[in-house]
Subunit: 525 residues, 2 copies
């Protein structure tokens, strides 16, 4: 049963007058549910509760926070088919994707629980006293990471589960010891409410302080702005558009006390076809990329939106196959009429640019809000001269650039903005012979791939999902994988502190049995 | 021989028309040297050279960069007494301090060299492929840290060596693989020129690319602004005032591509006297703090500018001793007439606030630019009500707050801005009995000390010199100690990359023999 209310900790609340509805893009009509936009007072209540909760929650052991995260995963699973059906209704995405994303979401929560149980993520560093050092005695100094305080998370449109209410931002912030206030994504507020209820149930079952999690509804920008400006909010996680992310980033920097905003804002994920890829595997890569570009109606941050190859018959044949194959795939429904409209606008704008040839454009009749894939091609010179072509079109769409030579390819890469990913297709010899191109690509991205597709982001300890601006607002952190926890913490040093009163992670006896850097050596002793 | 020119890589340059002189505060007159302010063209040249140098320098091995850093230390030492004399002339600081700071500066360079030779600082993480994983095969993904690009460093007024031309910011950025452009501090441009010549000599001797280091003179704010706005500059290090640091931070955030600014902006470093400290050691602490407050004419970021104690006879006696002792110490020369004037202004302003009693104010005749120490006292209520009293007065000055009770103490700490350090004086029982106070203090600081003085910042792996805004612009990083290198890097993941073409730190065989996180385990294998 969807109530449409906000969750201020464990309290259900609907103080505001403004309401909104979510939309079923497949049926092209509003859903049956009505949501109450969070009022200014509700925002203050949620932040005050989170601030109180932080005082207790920050000191909970890793084991206790892990229990909470695991309980959230269990409670999400216990929502059963209602969650899957609600997800599909509000997103237009198919049942299989919903189940896959639910699995991933639970997997993320459990991965952070395991990280907490292992415990070494706090980066404990110990340097012991040397009272007889000359000319000055050396103090005992020990540092580790501590949570920042209440975190605001903005749910993403394109991952109603894995990057939303209990997604990677929430899971990593809760793992770090920070209470979370979610600004629920207005396109899937019912899905958000169900997941929120699971989190709150898990919090109650595992003895978490009230306010460790709140969920606020909003269809406009004001609720988000008020949250980011709130003096008691200490950090922000966001996944979405460059405009949205940049606006929040600027707002956070204008505060009396600026706070970090981790906005992951997508990119065009350049793919470089080196000679032997075209020579030996052009057709196969074209077929693989037709499917990567259209996967999930192209609604992925890592969707390959730019392909660079050396001009010639082999590239022609790659473009032909890519264009044919992409038209063979059944187009799928986008998340919302607004996203569908924006996709069509973007496609139209780019198709009309100087030097563009449209090599594929799906023309057959489709269901409502269904994205017709498209492939464009353009010369290297025209691409370089026109930064409109460097922008992301969110959907099943890609631009192939015909480069004159490797130098032009390198120059194009050097003129791109920051990217989440970059991919090189070819042989090992190609990599060695094109080090300039590979270097230029590496300098622009958070993740560089060899002979693969960028869609599909592994949740593990070695993933970087982020990249130079505007792929993300802070290239030094990742929003996917266990290192995402590092966004919500800061180090504190303890100098000459009595051993028994130190946090457990810093005590001489290493009671948590974690790996620490002691006098320059990594050790579990 | 001081030329007064800028160093654009290895080229000496004086294209601009504007000149300025440095000042000898002890003799209260200008020095004999004239400096050429960097022109807009010289700035562009330095950045272009640094950008070119980065292409080569970023790929140098840790061992090769370590050689460079060690050579810098050696060349600084080889400057001999000319450096010491120039330092003293431009800063008014005594010979012993100059020699101590030179030792510290060389020590920092060598500490980063050792970090590079050991090599594990790149945080290599490896997760191997699982081709048979269901439902999707797992890719091989490996990540490590890479340098950001050219870094601009602003020298600090109060550490002409250790936080300036070849100070911690420069040493850590060069260690990370980033070329450095120093905006030399106008109060000690000659000292800066000497150190710059040592760096450039070291670069030439160890085969570094031209442009790995440049030194620009400037007496105004325009050179710094142009540097921070330059699109090819990728990060900024700054130590100085809140106004200066915040202005650069805002400028960097307004760029098309925002870049990180690590500004360390000082603080008032609260000291909490818990009951048994007053009961048993009040006199001793008062004497120790008289000396900590006046050390280096109070010109330290970690100078204790605020002392909190519980009202009563014991605190009265502490204040009396502190006030007496501080007047017994010989006042010392400040860095510059501007700093001296600012100190007097700040002291005057705070002394005139409601409820303030001046308990010590040095009145005897002194040499020019010599800071007369002062101690104020005020009630907790008056302190809480007046945020002017919460601001730093840079000099030998401290405010003692008479708190009604522990709750008021806690409330005061909760109303302070972010601080570099916080100190608790007392017994272990005091710590346990005042957990609210200790918690409030810990939440505000980068370093928390027990029974010590905050002045004196150890350069090691466990130091946090930084803290919540406005102590620094990014509490997640430190500007002192080996972790300072983490400010100039970002992680990049390699997915399914051929082993032999991976950076050495990520190759299967671990040729660098560093500690890596492999499949969740820290290992040197």
């Amino acid at each position: 049963m969807i109530s449409g209310t906000n969750a201020i900790g464990s309290k259900s609340s609907k103080q505001g007058n403004k309401t909104f509805k979510t939309f079923n893009p497949k049926e092209n009509k509003e859903t049956e549910w009505t949501f109450y936009e969070a009022s200014s007072n509700e925002i203050d209540e949620a932040v005050a509760l989170a601030t109180d909760a932080f005082k207790v929650y920050k000191d909970f052991s890793g084991a206790k926070k892990a229990e909470f995260l695991e309980a959230i995963a269990d409670e999400i699973e216990a929502l059963g088919d209602e969650l899957i059906e609600t997800y599909c209704k509000e997103s237009g995405l198919p049942d299989g994707r919903a189940r896959g994303e639910r699995g991933r979401t639970m997997g993320q929560l459990r991965a952070f629980a395991n990280l907490l149980k292992e415990g070494s993520w706090v980066e404990a560093v110990i340097e012991k006293a040397q009272p007889n050092r000359e000319p000055m005695p050396k103090s005992d100094i020990r540092k580790m990471l501590f949570p920042l305080g209440p975190v605001v998370v903005f749910g993403a449109s394109n991952f109603p589960l894995a990057f939303s209410t209990a997604g990677g931002d929430t899971a990593s912030a809760l793992a770090a010891g920070c209470p979370v206030i979610v600004k629920s994504h207005p396109m899937h507020a019912a899905t958000g409410e169900l997941v929120s209820s699971a989190i709150i149930k898990a919090a109650e079952k595992t003895g978490m302080p009230n306010g460790v999690f709140s969920n606020l509804n909003s269809s406009g920008i004001e609720v988000g702005q008020q949250l980011v400006k709130h003096p008691k909010v200490k950090a922000v996680g966001f996944t979405g558009s460059i405009n949205g992310g940049t606006a929040l980033y600027k707002l956070a920097n204008e505060r009396d006390e600026p706070i970090p905003v981790f906005a992951e804002m997508g990119s065009i994920n350049p793919v470089v076809l080196l000679p032997s890829a075209l020579e030996n595997d052009g057709e196969a890569w074209a077929t693989k990329y037709a499917s990567s570009i259209t996967m999930g109606a192209g609604q992925f941050c890592t969707n390959p939106g730019l392909v660079l190859g050396l001009k010639g018959a082999k590239l022609d044949s790659f473009i032909n196959t890519l264009s044919e194959e992409i038209l063979k795939l059944e187009p799928t429904c986008m998340l919302h009429p607004n996203i569908y409209a924006k996709y069509n606008e973007g496609k139209k704008e780019l198709s009309a640019q100087k030097g563009i040839t449209v090599t594929a454009d799906y023309k057959k009749a489709t269901n409502p809000n269904t994205a017709q894939p498209s492939i464009l091609k353009v010369s290297g010179a025209d691409f370089l001269a026109n930064t409109k072509l460097h922008k992301e079109v969110f959907g099943p769409f890609s631009v192939v650039v015909e480069c004159e030579n490797a130098l032009e390819m390198e120059s194009i890469l050097n003129h791109l903005e920051g990217q989440l990913t970059g991919t090189v297709l070819g042989s090992e010899d190609d990599l060695e012979n094109n080090s300039g191109v590979v270097d230029a690509l590496q300098s622009r991205v958070g993740r560089i791939l060899f002979n693969g597709v960028p869609t599909g982001v592994e949740v593990n300890s070695s993933m970087v999902h982020g990249g130079p601006f505007p792929a993300s607002t802070d290239a030094r952190f990742t929003s996917v994988g266990t290192s995402a926890i590092k966004r919500w913490v800061r180090p504190v040093s303890y100098q000459d502190w009595p051993n028994k009163l130190l946090p457990l992670a810093l005590q001489n006896e290493n009671p948590l049995k974690i790996t620490r850097l002691v006098e320059g050596e990594y050790t579990k002793n």
